[in-house]
Amino acid sequence: MKSLATQRRKPVAALVLVVLVLSLIGALYAAVGSATKVQAVDAPNSAEQIALGEKLFVQSCSSCHGIGGVGTDEAPSLVGAGEASADFQLSTGRMPLTAEQAQAQERTPVFSDEEIMAISKYVGSLGAGPSNPTASQLEYENADLALGGELFRTNCSQCHNFAGEGGALSNGKYAPNIRNASPLQIWQAMITGPENMPVFSDQTMSDSDKQAIIKFVNHLDNEPSFGGWDGGSLGPVSEGLTVFLLVIGLLIGAAVWIGAKVR
């Protein structure tokens, strides 16, 4: 203890303290953060929550979707859209819409986790629709990675690109980059088909297939880039640019250097 008493006035003590406190906050945040996530999936339907959701819906959504989510000329009816759909749109920040564009843009969510859950429950209560998966449905760790890859290349890569980098659709619409999507978001997207995406319902794609795809997408982001920098995994276009801008550029530099007169 005596040593601590002598050490604590040294300049390095402050640094150690800051690191310790930051780690503690980080650990707490990680623990609390993951806890809320599980809660969001498993929380029971409560009348209170739905009432809060309705209130928020009237405030922020009904101007386009109508009171009671029946739809207007501006936006579709949400009756039967389901909890999963509302949760996906709100948690990825696509709704509320910032501006009318070819399609809704991803951004930081406007609502808090609790508010999103409340609105989702409310939309879910409007009519039967796809609901959020249970925690056990989202357990993808034991899924078949190779099967996931095959399913991904058959069903997803034509729009989202082989590495999940996304790609263009017609008239300014696009398939987004999905490398950072959470397992819950991937699941929700598959069962609700947001924007231009087709729906992969339970009848067309089993839970284990969905888990395999989630495992593959998750793997895409964690796999090291084996050949070096991946150039955005965009295929031959970025490779061609590299050849002209970098390789030919460097070699012209070398040619000028070699051809330069000795002074």
Binding site: S170, G172, S233, V247, G259
Partner: protein, 590 residues
């Protein structure tokens, strides 16, 4: 000892008799310029492709036999795939150095075609294809086409998703050829696409036939360059009948050898740090799969673009569909482009007046052939627009644009933008010619303003350096072929009148508007005038340089004041001005 070596050497030469031949040839002179290195760059890239390719053949299995993958790449374990794809995975993950060699091979291949393309542009805009080098120009075009084929066949071999997609398009292009298309496709694929023969057939073509043809063409290309001697840029002492530069041994051989290592080093460095063609990500080829951003390698990108922007035109004739939407952009366009490229040297020669159809060993400066240079920039614009169309989905998704908008911009742009670029390039070239003429007549503007004792301001003009003058004077004044008369004085019809009229029209299109060089008399007068100006300015320039060396500023009044106060003078200048002032005073007094 030295005697023994001497005996050995002379004994060898008695039998091979190459001493005089090599003595002459190792002293052969090559001119030097950085833009002459593109051909070499292509050659060294090809050597790199060849060497890395040999290593890959040791491990690649050109077979479409279906296997279950059991290598180190976990996400594909247990997936059905062709042996070709499995062995490419093995090269990437289980063969020592395999991935690096694969990437070297692919980067070097891209560079090979890229360097050839830039070389082609350089040869075109400097007129290096003119007589006597038309044949070598055509051999070069053959090399470029072989480069396309080599690249495309190599792109197709690994049998990954991208390979298969490319082959499917190639099959579609074959099918679009009227009458023979289906037969051709069935012949090549041994039945319906994809069949199980194609990879092994393509392999032989990729590693034997195409490299063999390329090597033969390269040999011919280089021998002709050696025999005809390299062209050179105009300059002091450089004429149509000499070559100014360095001898092969030791200088040029060292430079060229060094450049090989630079090219090889850059390729290996890029291959070591940047992924190319991550076939493990694409997965094995399955006809029902596709990935967004499926593109060919860059050199096929313009044809891909043409395919993408082509309207969907088809005609049904006697129960057969003719797919203009594929046939025109993919087959006809390529044919037209290469035919025009091959025909250009002969066309230009045909439309050039007789006295200019001699051998050309001195290169044109691009500005001195405005129409040709404008053709180059216009064609390049067309090419880049096609490339943009070929990458329209990547551009759309990366830059948040509408793919439809890009397609329409290019659809209209390919008819509007290249002519505009052609026109503006021609104007720029002619303006540069005018600038050259001004330089000859008025010298170089030094930017130094001189105030004469009576208050007049004048800019000091310096004479042009001998080198610059030689470069500008290298321009050949070419009068276009005159339009023919329909009948001669005796009323006899001119033979081939319409052909001759066309020839004259093309000739005017190529050579009209050229800014003539000043005549000899004008040049002499100009020289006198420039020298006078320079002489008048010399003391001022001298004073300025002296002041600069001392850290002073000439137009700084306070510095001048300080100088005067300190008694600093520039003696000869002050003396000259004092003299002038006195003279003037004297005149006034008179």
């Amino acid at each position: 000892m030295s005697n023994a070596i001497g005996n050995f050497a002379s004994g060898l030469d008695d039998r091979l008799t190459i001493a005089s031949w090599s003595r002459r040839n190792i002293r052969k002179v090559f001119p030097e310029h950085w833009s002459f290195m593109f051909g070499e760059m292509a050659l060294y890239a090809f050597i790199t492709v060849l060497l890395s390719g040999i290593y890959l053949t040791l491990f690649f299995k050109p077979s479409m036999t279906e296997v279950l993958y059991d290598g180190s790449y976990v996400p594909l374990k247990g997936v059905h795939m062709s042996e070709a794809y499995a062995s490419t995975l093995d090269i990437s993950f289980d063969v020592r150095g395999g991935l690096l060699l694969r990437q070297i091979h692919h980067w070097a291949a891209l560079l090979f075609v890229a360097a050839m393309s830039v070389h082609l542009v350089r040869v075109f805009v400097t007129g290096a294809f003119r007589k006597p080098r038309e044949i070598n120009w055509m051999i070069g075009l053959g090399l470029l086409m072989m480069g396309f084929l080599a690249g495309f066949s190599g792109y197709s071999l690994p049998d990954d998703l991208l390979s298969g997609t490319g082959l499917r398009i190639a099959e579609g292009i074959m099918l679009s050829i009227p009458v023979i298309g289906t037969y051709l496709s069935f012949f090549l694929f041994d039945g319906e696409f994809p069949g199980d023969e194609f990879i092994s057939r393509l392999y032989g073509i990729h590693i034997l036939l195409i490299p063999g043809v390329i090597l033969a063409l390269i040999t011919a290309h280089l021998l002709i360059v050696w025999y005809q001697k390299h062209t050179q840029y105009p300059g002091k002492g450089k004429t149509n009948d000499n070559v100014v530069g360095y001898p092969v041994m030791p200088i040029y051989a060292a430079k060229a050898g060094g450049f090989f290592f630079v090219v090889f080093g850059v390729i290996v460095a890029i291959a070591g740090v940047i992924t190319i063609n991550p076939i493990w990500g694409y997965g094995p080829y399955m006809p029902d799969q596709i990935t967004a951003g499926s593109q060919p390698d860059w050199y096929m990108g313009w044809l891909e673009g043409a395919l993408r922007i082509m309207p969907n035109w088809e005609t049904v004739a006697w129960g057969h569909t003719i797919s203009w939407n594929v046939f025109i952009p993919a087959a006809v366009l390529m044919g037209i482009v290469f035919t025009l490229l091959g025909a250009y040297p002969w066309l230009e020669r045909w439309a050039t007046p007789g006295d200019q159809t001699k051998d050309h060993n001195l290169l044109d400066r691009p500005r001195n052939a405005p129409t040709r240079t404008a053709l180059a920039t216009g064609s390049l614009t067309f090419y880049f627009l096609m490339l943009i169309a070929g990458g329209n989905d990547i551009i759309a998704s990366q830059l948040d644009m509408s793919i439809n908008a890009i397609t329409w911009v290019v659809r209209i742009g390919i008819f509007v933008i290249p002519p505009f670029v052609f026109w503006i390039t021609r104007r720029i070239c002619l303006s540069l010619q005018r600038k050259d003429r001004d330089l000859l007549l008025h010298g170089v503007e030094t930017g130094t303003m001189m105030r004469l004792p009576h208050g007049e301001f004048e800019e000091v003009h310096a004479p042009l350096s001998e080198e610059a003058k030689a470069v500008i004077l290298s321009k050949e004044t070419i009068e276009p072929i005159p339009y023919p008369e329909k009948t001669d004085a005796n009323g006899v019809k001119t033979p081939h009148y319409h052909l001759k009229k066309m020839q004259a029209a093309v000739s005017h299109w190529l050579y009209r508007d050229a800014v003539p060089l000043p005549s000899a008399a004008e040049l002499e007068a100009a020289e006198h005038h420039i020298l006078e100006s320079a002489e008048k300015g010399a003391p001022v320039m001298h004073q300025m340089r002296q002041l600069e060396a001392e850290g002073g500023v000439m137009h700084d009044p306070s510095a001048a004041e300080a100088d005067r106060a300190a008694g600093v003078t520039v003696p000869h200048l002050d003396a000259e001005f004092d003299q002038k002032a006195e003279d003037e005073k004297g005149q006034q007094a008179d």
